[in-house]
């Protein structure tokens, strides 16, 4: 049982902050009067972009959206299609993977992203900020009439409360996540969403700007007498002058603090604020690392890294436009690839030709082609298109709906007994199980990993294996009990997976920390323990039929029915015991192999142990004759609570080596589940107390 680390986006954010400081310094130099005189850029970063169109914008051509969808970006330590990144970016603000324009047109994640990047003035009017309670608005000093308590708002509507929002969020972040109130959680999430949206809105500000080179005679000559030139053209000729100046500044900072040259550079930024301009625009261009390194750049950085001379922790980092500027400005010894300047030029052309669909499509195609070539040369494009297909196919979403349909068919067969209804339900459940299996296999291929490596994947794996186990159970014992339960539980499982994804709002295929980087143990321990969870939950849910059937008098007197259900509970219990026990011990063996200790009493380990102990207690009480089928079923309901505590509940404690799945937002759902199970248990207990045979009164 292994730990995972915190959000990669937060890490990237910190790194970006450092870059932003450096870039602002560089920008100061770029904008220095000696070089460019005042105001090197045509439009300051703080200004709102001028509206490009007042009418409803034309829809993005399919080819454009498709090319952008398949454009690789590096995020969270991996190359992913922009489609995936846009998916989660939209999810983070809107809590759903689509958005509506004021005209009512539905936008997918890529179309939304394109609007934010290239038509920021329009994107600011889209109501794509989901706010769960209007108390959040009150907290940030906004009053917007005529809206529901939980509603969606546009960036422009929220802009007035922005400063207060960030001030409050800064304060609330000092609190542990589990101690934050609902409003505080909402404020922090909204601030995060606004900040990210800001970054996207301004991501291409530099591409919409030009550099005034007319003040410097030598530069003017160099650019053929033009007054303004695009940034991508101006960078290289300007670089030597900038380099000399920044080198001098960095040298000064190194003398003061050899370990932290960038910190002083950041402080110097303060002195250069009056010259801030283009650099600030570039410092906004950090959110997307969409420029893969060239092969020779990679080799150069890798060699520096090997000698511990590189400033980055990893030689494989792709570049954002701001990283590229940093290369030009700060490290003249690092290669600047012409293809990257070409790609910047294409982004500028796209920004200029945003209202010309044909030219925009040409530039997009050019950008995508170059991006694909670079990523392919690094061996990082292989799964990009397949991942887009996977995400668009939405297999798990389809399976969820059809599982529900299968359950409805079985339910109808209770009202109108018809063997065709049952057969169709069986076939539909099997087809859905197959869809889930294909989805899981697809993910395995994309990631090159076994099926279960994250909390999200445990849910879909448990769901898929539960569907298969349910069908096998129905085959062994064809009484339509398992057939009714299976699609319902599988629907619930996929619903939970979807809600979890919405709650986490992060990549569901993240990179793994070093300690988890072993496919052997991931495949063995995690898969086995997940099957243990599945079997235990299935035991518990079948037991509900026994207990609730008795309580509500369903098939009263039908001893064969209850004998059957009782046998299923016991059979599943045995199955659960095998997998939970072996899975738990395998976790210990893995820990022993990697850390040298078999058992560390970590909360997740304890949770798994609790399941095993309860299963063993059930078996021993049954064998000793202390409980029979009803008692065993009652215990199986408690087993559900223990499994859910072990699987999800311990993550809420936020402690231990396995706190990777921490999600404060799911606490309420868990408590509701515990309460429902406790209620069922109490119903069963009440029925048992009321109906148990009493000793005859003494004569």
């Amino acid at each position: 049982m292994k730990p995972l680390s915190s959000s990669p986006y937060a890490d990237a954010g910190r790194r970006r902050l450092g870059w932003a400081l450096v870039l602002t310094l560089a920008a100061g130099l770029l904008a220095a009067p000696a070089l460019l005189d005042a105001g090197p850029v045509a439009r300051a970063a703080d200004e709102s972009p001028a509206p490009t169109s007042a009418a409803a914008p034309a829809a993005w051509p399919e080819a454009v959206a498709d090319a952008w969808a398949k454009t690789p970006v590096q995020q969270g330590g991996r190359a992913m299609p922009l489609y995936a990144w846009a998916n989660y970016a939209l999810l983070r603000v809107n809590r759903k993977k689509s958005c509506k324009t004021p005209q009512g047109e539905k936008l997918g994640p890529v179309e939304w992203m394109l609007d934010v990047l290239f038509r920021p003035d329009l994107a600011r009017t889209y109501r794509c900020f989901r706010i769960e309670t209007d108390e959040i608005l009150t907290a940030i000093g906004l009053e917007i009439e005529g809206r529901k308590k939980a509603d969606r708002y546009s960036y422009d509507e929220l802009a007035a409360g922005r400063m207060k929002l960030f001030t409050l969020a800064k304060r609330y972040r000092t609190k542990a996540e589990k101690d934050r109130s609902r409003v505080e959680v909402g404020v922090v999430a909204l601030a995060h969403g606004m900040h990210e949206f800001d970054g996207l809105l301004h991501f291409l500000d530099w591409a919409r700007a030009t550099v005034d080179v007319s003040r410097d005679a030598s530069l003017g000559e160099r650019f053929g007498g033009r007054k303004h030139v695009p940034v991508s053209e101006a960078l290289v000729p300007l670089a030597p002058g900038i380099n000399r100046a920044t080198e001098a500044l960095l040298e000064a900072s190194r003398r003061n603090n050899p370990q932290q040259p960038l910190r002083l550079a950041g402080a110097l930024r303060q002195a250069l604020v009056p010259y801030d301009g283009l650099g600030r625009m570039f410092s906004d261009a950090t959110l997307l690392s969409l420029l893969p390194l060239t092969k020779s750049q990679f080799e150069q950085v890798e060699a520096l890294h090997e000698k511990r001379q590189a400033l980055s922790e990893n030689p494989e980092e792709w570049l954002s436009p701001s990283d590229l500027l940093a290369r030009v400005v700060l490290w003249p010894n690092l290669e600047v690839a012409p293809i990257h300047l070409e790609m910047l030029g294409l982004l500028e052309k796209m920004a200029a030709d945003v209202d010309d669909p044909v030219r925009f499509a040409e530039h997009t195609s050019g950008f995508h082609t170059r991006s694909r070539e670079l990523a392919t040369a690094l061996g990082e494009y292989d799964g990009i298109e397949s991942e887009v297909t996977y995400l668009r196919a939405n297999l798990l979403g389809w399976a969820k709906h059809f599982f529900l349909l299968a359950f409805v068919l079985v339910a109808l067969s209770w009202l109108w007994p018809n063997r065709w209804l049952v057969r169709i339900a069986w076939a539909l459940t099997a087809a859905c199980a197959l869809l889930v299996a294909i989805g899981i296999t697809w993910r395995c291929i994309l990631r090159g990993r076994p099926p279960v490596t994250t909390l999200y994947e445990t849910v879909i794996f448990v769901t898929g294996s539960m569907a298969v186990a349910g069908l096998v159970l129905e085959w062994i014992n064809p009484k339509r009990i398992a057939l009714a339960l299976t699609p319902l539980l599988a629907f619930a499982g996929l619903f939970v997976a979807e809600r979890y994804e919405l709650e986490k709002m992060e990549d569901t295929m993240p990179q793994l920390v070093a300690v988890l980087d072993t496919n052997f143990w991931l495949a063995l321990h995690v898969t086995v323990i997940a099957i243990g969870y599945m079997a235990s939950l299935l035991t518990g849910f079948v037991a509900h039929i026994y207990v609730l059937g008795k309580v509500f008098g369903f098939r009263k007197g039908d001893t064969a029915f209850y004998r059957n259900v009782g046998r299923m509970v016991y059979g599943l219990l045995a199955f659960a015991l095998i997998f939970a026990t072996i899975g738990t011990i395998l976790g210990g063996i893995w820990a022993n192999e990697s850390w040298g200790r078999f058992w560390g009493w970590d909360p997740k380990e304890n949770g798994a142990l609790m399941i095993v102990l309860w299963l063993l207690a059930m078996v021993h009480l049954r064998l000793g004759g202390y409980v029979k089928a009803f008692g065993l079923s009652m215990m199986a309901i408690v087993l559900n609570i223990i499994v859910v505590f072990s699987w999800w509940g311990v993550n809420l404690l936020g402690i231990g080596l396995h706190s990777y799945g921490f999600t404060a937002g799911i606490a309420k759902t868990l408590y509701v589940f515990y309460a429902i199970e406790a209620f069922v248990f109490l119903l069963g207990l009440g029925w048992w107390l009321a109906t148990r045979p009493r000793a005859a009164p003494a004569a």
Partner: protein, 415 residues
């Protein structure tokens, strides 16, 4: 006609009780409750403290919400009773036959697992060591000792004129748990004084003592009761403290000093012309070999600070007289170095912050565990037993169902 029942004698009844299903179930449920409460307690205490209190004790009091006391049976007693129950009921008294073969094997596997855990608990040693990337001019890349995570020791150090040090070590067991009014007197023939230790503080801090008179320690050693879990987890605030008194053997003269784990030698003095110092430090052990770090590999996933890979290329040089020979070893996650009874695991790195070009150290966990592989063998035995038992049950059930269906079909065709 009623069947006469055999009367059990009291020893037989006791024997039956200790081997009963009921006792097994009760113990399992009590262990579950203990596990649950100890898990919740980890929100407030470190794992080490929780393990010591909940599992390495016969009894304890748990406070619900920090207020309401509940007496609990501790892990030692529960596991002891469970082992007894397993031996008596699960192996000795159990009916032997084909139907119980699988269960017997499972119980045997659990006994092996418990035995391995017992050996580990009693005989294993755990700690950590750091080796730095090689750099000319120092030997930080070489290490042959490792330090305990939690246990302390007191070292009495004689600083000889030639610059060498002779150490006399007082082990943790001698002073752990000493109250202010309890004393442990330690002596050695080679020492010109006895050392009297008292008032052991698991978490202590040093405060400046502005009222200290000449010759007195300028610091006050005070117990630090309210140490937050975060501070302990971060390794801050959990420095042990101890009061030491020296009694010279020849003159009976007494000197007082404070020992504090948060700094180096806190109690220095001279006897005649001989300088001495006494210090409390993390308990350390010598390895029967030396580790030299040749290369440390540390990678994060691009654009993040998430570790992707940390690995060490080391040279292991056995002490003179050892039967093994020097060899180069690559240590990575899940691929430890095994040498004799010792296993060295890649456990960390540092410093965590700083420029990317910084000199780094490799953190290695060191374990000496005679029962290292026992859990693996036990798992194989338990797995086999479970498969035999429940596999047999499933086959019997399927056969019975098939017979029922055949009978039903035959009855249907006959009618």
């Amino acid at each position: 006609m009623p069947v006469p029942q055999k009367q059990e004698s009291l020893p037989e009844k006791i024997f039956a009780f200790f081997g009963s299903f009921g006792l097994a179930a009760v113990l399992l449920i009590l262990l579950l409750i203990l596990t649950y409460l100890s898990t919740l307690q980890q929100q407030y205490d470190t794992t080490y403290e929780v393990v010591q209190r909940y599992y390495k004790s016969p009894f304890l009091i748990h406070y619900v919400g920090g207020k309401y006391p509940i007496p609990l049976v501790g892990g030692y007693l529960l596991l002891g009773l469970l082992s007894l129950n397993l031996l008596v009921g699960g192996l000795w008294r159990m009916r032997k036959g084909a139907s119980t073969l699988g269960v017997f094997i499972v119980h045997l596997g659990i006994v092996i697992l418990f035995a391995g855990s017992f050996v580990e608990d009693r005989l294993s040693t755990e700690g950590a060591m750091q080796v730095w990337e090689p750099r000319p001019g120092d030997t930080l890349d070489v290490a042959s000792t490792f330090k305990s995570y939690e246990e302390w020791e007191v070292a009495v150090i004689r600083l000889d004129a030639d610059g060498s040090r002779t150490e006399f070590v007082i082990p943790y067991d001698e002073f752990e748990g000493l109250d202010a009014d309890e004393q442990a007197r330690c002596f050695a023939a080679e020492l010109p004084f006895d050392v009297v230790l008292s008032d052991y503080m698991e978490n202590a801090k040093l405060l400046e003592n502005p009222q200290a008179r000449t010759g007195e320690s300028p610091y006050l050693l005070v117990r630090q009761d309210a140490v937050s879990k975060e501070m302990k987890d971060a390794g801050r605030g959990n420095a042990a403290g101890l009061r030491a008194k020296l009694v010279e053997k020849t003159t009976g003269k007494v000197r007082h000093g404070n020992l504090w784990g948060g700094s180096g030698d806190t109690f220095r003095f001279t006897l005649g012309t001989q300088p001495w110092s006494i210090t409390i430090r993390k308990r350390s052990w010598d390895l029967p070999f030396t580790i030299r770090l040749r290369k440390f590999i540390h990678e994060v996933h691009p654009g993040t600070r998430m570790p992707r890979r940390y690995e060490s290329d080391v040279t292991m040089t056995p002490d003179p007289g050892s039967s093994s020979s020097e060899r180069d070893v690559h240590i990575s996650m899940n691929e430890p170095l095994r040498e004799g009874e010792y296993t060295l695991y890649q456990s960390g790195w540092g410093p965590q912050m700083g420029a990317a070009g910084r000199r780094m150290f490799s953190g290695l966990a060191v374990v000496r565990n005679p029962s290292d592989q026992v859990p693996l063998y036990a798992t194989i035995v338990i797995g086999m037993g479970l498969l035999i038992h429940f596999g047999r049950k499933l086959i019997l059930y399927l056969k019975a169902e098939a017979r029922k269906r055949a009978a039903a079909a035959a009855a249907g065709s006959a009618s």
